[in-house]
């Protein structure tokens, strides 16, 4: 099983690197964000598999949960930030209302 997990984790690492091409090329900033987001979500699984490989899943699964939450929140924050960038006048009026 250890050999299988090692091979699977190696293949997964190659799969994770592929969207980097989109981050590098991507015509718009959203394509770059999408590529980065795709890499981040797949890393969750890689961390869990490394935990099984070293037989210390109890510790690694907590890292996985924290990483998943962090990736989700940063992706939401970046999406919100891009919307605010596109409409600076609306963001200002909202501040004035307060």
């Amino acid at each position: 099983m250890q050999t299988f997990l090692l091979v699977a984790a190696t293949v997964l690492m190659v799969v994770i690197v592929i969207p980097l091409v989109r981050v590098w090329k991507g015509p718009t900033v959203f394509d770059r964000l999408l590529g980065a987001n795709a890499m981040a979500t797949k890393t969750i699984v890689l961390i869990a598999m490394i935990g099984y490989f070293y037989d210390r899943i109890g510790m690694f699964i907590d890292i996985t949960l924290a990483y998943a939450a962090l990736g989700f929140i940063s992706s939401l924050a970046l999406a919100k930030y891009m919307t605010a960038e596109a409409h600076p006048e609306e963001a200002q009026t909202e501040e004035k209302d307060e």
Partner: protein, 134 residues
């Protein structure tokens, strides 16, 4: 490979299937023609791949407290990934990124024959609602 138990075989099948779906998702991110169609590959095919691998690891783990934690990861990924991709797509739509739409006969495999105009970001103006037609 011959010393696998039955449960290990099942979990290995799940992990291989999941990595296969993730590989197809990664290829889709590179191949598909515009941002909105790439979102389908990046967020949905990937989500299924991640869920399959985590189910495989849960079968490998058996009935312990770590299985519950893996179930939390499973539920979190299943809920958070669609919300993240929706937020990204809505941000793109709000900033005026046009989707590339076409019929099957206009598509030659790499580009649109009839309308090769690339999608571009246009600023939405508040005064004319027709200018913001996305």
């Amino acid at each position: 490979m011959s010393d696998f138990t039955v449960l290990e075989w099942i979990s290995a099948v799940f992990i291989v299937l999941g990595i296969g779906f993730m590989l197809i998702g990664s290829i889709g991110v590179i191949r598909l023609p515009d941002f909105y169609s790439r979102t389908h590959a990046a967020s949905k095919t990937d989500t299924l791949g991640i869920l399959l691998v985590i189910v495989g690891l849960m079968i490998l783990e058996g009935f312990t407290i770590n299985m519950g934690k893996l179930a939390f990861v499973l539920i979190f990924v299943a809920l958070a990934n669609p919300i993240g991709s929706h937020a990204l797509a809505r941000a793109a739509m709000d900033s005026g990124l046009k989707p590339l739409l076409f019929r099957k006969e206009e598509w030659d495999g790499t580009s649109v024959i009839a309308d090769s105009k690339k999608p571009s970001i246009v600023k939405k103006s508040k005064q004319s609602p027709s200018g913001g037609s996305v």
